[in-house]
């Protein structure tokens, strides 16, 4: 069984440019049972640098899960997703799209690009907390991750 994830904290890379959403997620995670290390980058360029351990991210750990906002400045979330899913080494990391858009074309397009699931940011603290909890519950207790390379 490849469950040694459980012993150390789980690494999430959160790619999000909205400081309010970042803070809210951090606050909600404070109340959660699972040990999560939330690493935040605010743009696509940093996200790829982080994943490829370049520059200031040279010592970054490979994340177990990526949370990706679609609307990012400069390099769009869709471009980031495409870059991840076309990279031999990165494509096995599950990507959860976290966005305000409920547009069908966004949903269809991101799945086509290889997103592992698509979540619309809900309204209200309770719903938001519940969403984070459910994402955690699913990805960290139900799902088996690909073995770390």
């Amino acid at each position: 069984m490849n469950n040694d994830n459980r012993l150390k904290s789980i690494e999430i890379l959160y790619i999000e440019d909205d400081p309010g959403d970042i803070r809210l997620t951090q606050e909600v995670l404070k109340d959660t049972k699972i040990k999560i290390k939330l690493n935040v980058v605010t743009n696509g360029k940093d996200a790829l640098a982080y994943l490829n351990r370049e520059g200031e991210f040279a010592t970054a750990l490979r994340p177990d899960l990526i949370w990706l906002d679609l609307n990012l400045p400069a390099m769009d979330g869709r471009d980031v997703l495409q870059a991840i899913k076309q990279d031999e080494h990165l494509k096995t990391i599950p990507v959860v799209i976290l966005t305000t858009s409920a547009a069908n074309e966004d949903i269809a397009r991101t799945y086509a690009l290889g997103a592992n699931c698509y979540v619309t940011k809900p309204v209200g603290l309770e719903a938001f907390a519940k969403m984070v909890e459910q994402i955690e519950g699913f990805w960290f207790t139900v799902v088996k991750f690909p073995p770390k390379m």
Binding site: G20, L24, T100, G124, L125, F128
Partner: protein, 382 residues
């Protein structure tokens, strides 16, 4: 004329006169002189075609007998151009009434004939009719466009407004969760008013979004069995029905071409309204439809009849306006969107909706009429 000056005075309507004789051009130009017209005079079919490329004319007065391209040839070429395909053409001829000639003209798309010698008032009246038609078409086009823009605006505005609001709501809720009872009671009150206000505003914006989506994101109209549609609608609000002890009965309903999702929204709104505005007794609601002919148009009239608080009929139009409420929020919660959205949906189906009530305290009946979309009578049969 005066009635229309307000919307039309800011532009002149273009008229084209084509005649190979300068004297005729001059005379007709003088005759039609009007501050509301911008008259262009050309002396050949060739120049007329050049003019048409650059301008949109309300009407073209075209001499039949001309050297070079004659009137008929010119008309045929005018009709071939996209921009002038529908521009009315009046042929002017000295040839006298000749049926064969006239038929040829009509086949080429002439809308009228004027015979020389020209009777001045006759020409003026004819031209003014086409000018008026043109103005109306332009106004209608502008109205449709501004309506579309407004809907688009409502959609974008409400969509973008949701984002900052989501933040205010989340953080004020977080504030309440973490600090409630730790500050003083004033602070608790203030936090309550912030979260309450934001929650309400969010519902208003969602309503606005739904409202604007009625036309911008409606689905095509498909043949729909209303008996099934009602069953589905009732299943969706089953909890509410049971909770309130509501009794709902449904008569036989027709099959009509509608947007089923939108129609379910209408019934849901009307039924939930009937439940919300209940009187002393538990709600008793009956839904029925009957075939009707309204102003020569066949269709079905639906009714949702309740035993609720009824309505003073002096308010009957107000309830269909967006954000209008007749009651205090703490008496009957809601944002005043349901009926406005229902009205918009019914109007998208070329129908109309209204309310009837024997008076306050005596229940009310929400009625709507849906015309049969196809001329085919089958549609209107059960």
């Amino acid at each position: 004329m005066a009635t229309n000056t307000q919307i039309t005075e800011n532009y002149a309507v273009k008229i084209l006169i084509v005649d190979d004789k300068q004297a005729n051009l001059l005379a007709m130009g003088e005759l039609l002189k009007n501050p509301g017209y911008e008259i262009t005079k050309v002396d050949s079919g060739e120049s007329a075609l050049r003019c048409i490329l650059k301008n949109e004319f309300a009407v073209i007065l075209l001499d039949v007998q001309m050297p070079g391209l004659d009137g008929f040839e010119t008309a045929a070429l005018i009709r071939q151009r996209e921009k002038s395909r529908n521009t009315p053409i009046i042929f002017i001829t000295a040839a006298g009434k000749n049926h064969e000639l006239m038929e040829k003209g009509y086949a080429l798309g002439a809308v009228d004939y004027i015979f020389k010698p020209i009777e001045p008032s006759f020409l003026k009246t004819k031209v003014s009719v086409f000018v008026e038609l043109h103005r109306r078409a332009v106004e209608a086009k502008k109205l449709t466009q501004s309506n579309q823009e407004l809907e688009q605006f409502a959609y974008i505005a409400s969509h973008d407004l949701q984002e900052p609001l989501r933040k205010i709501r989340s953080f004020s809720e977080l504030l309440a969760k973490r600090y409630k009872g730790q500050l003083d009671s004033d602070a608790d009150d203030f936090i309550y008013y912030i979260t309450d206000g934001v929650t309400r505003m969010q519902r208003l914006i969602e309503g606005l979004l739904t409202f604007s989506r009625v036309t911008t994101q409606g689905n095509p109209l498909i043949e729909t069995n209303f008996n099934h549609l009602i069953k589905e609608t009732l299943a969706m609000i089953d909890i509410k029905i049971k909770e309130t002890g509501s009794k709902i009965t449904v008569g036989p309903l027709p099959v009509l071409k509608v947007d089923p999702g939108q129609m379910m929204q209408v019934f849901q709104n009307l039924i939930l309204n009937a439940i919300k505005f209940k009187g002393q007794d538990d709600p008793v609601i009956h839904i029925k439809a009957e075939k009707k002919s309204v102003q020569g148009q066949d269709g079905w009239q639906f009714a949702v009849i309740d035993n609720g608080i009824g309505i003073n009929l002096s308010q009957k139009d107000r309830i269909f306006k967006i954000f209008q409420r007749l009651h205090l929020r703490n008496e009957y919660p809601g944002e005043g969107m349901g009926l406005a959205i229902s009205k918009k949906i019914i109007e998208r189906h070329q129908g109309r909706i209204w309310i009837d009530s024997p008076g306050e305290g005596k229940g009310s009946t929400l009625l709507f009429f849906l015309p049969c979309q196809d001329a085919s009578q089958e549609q209107c049969q059960e």
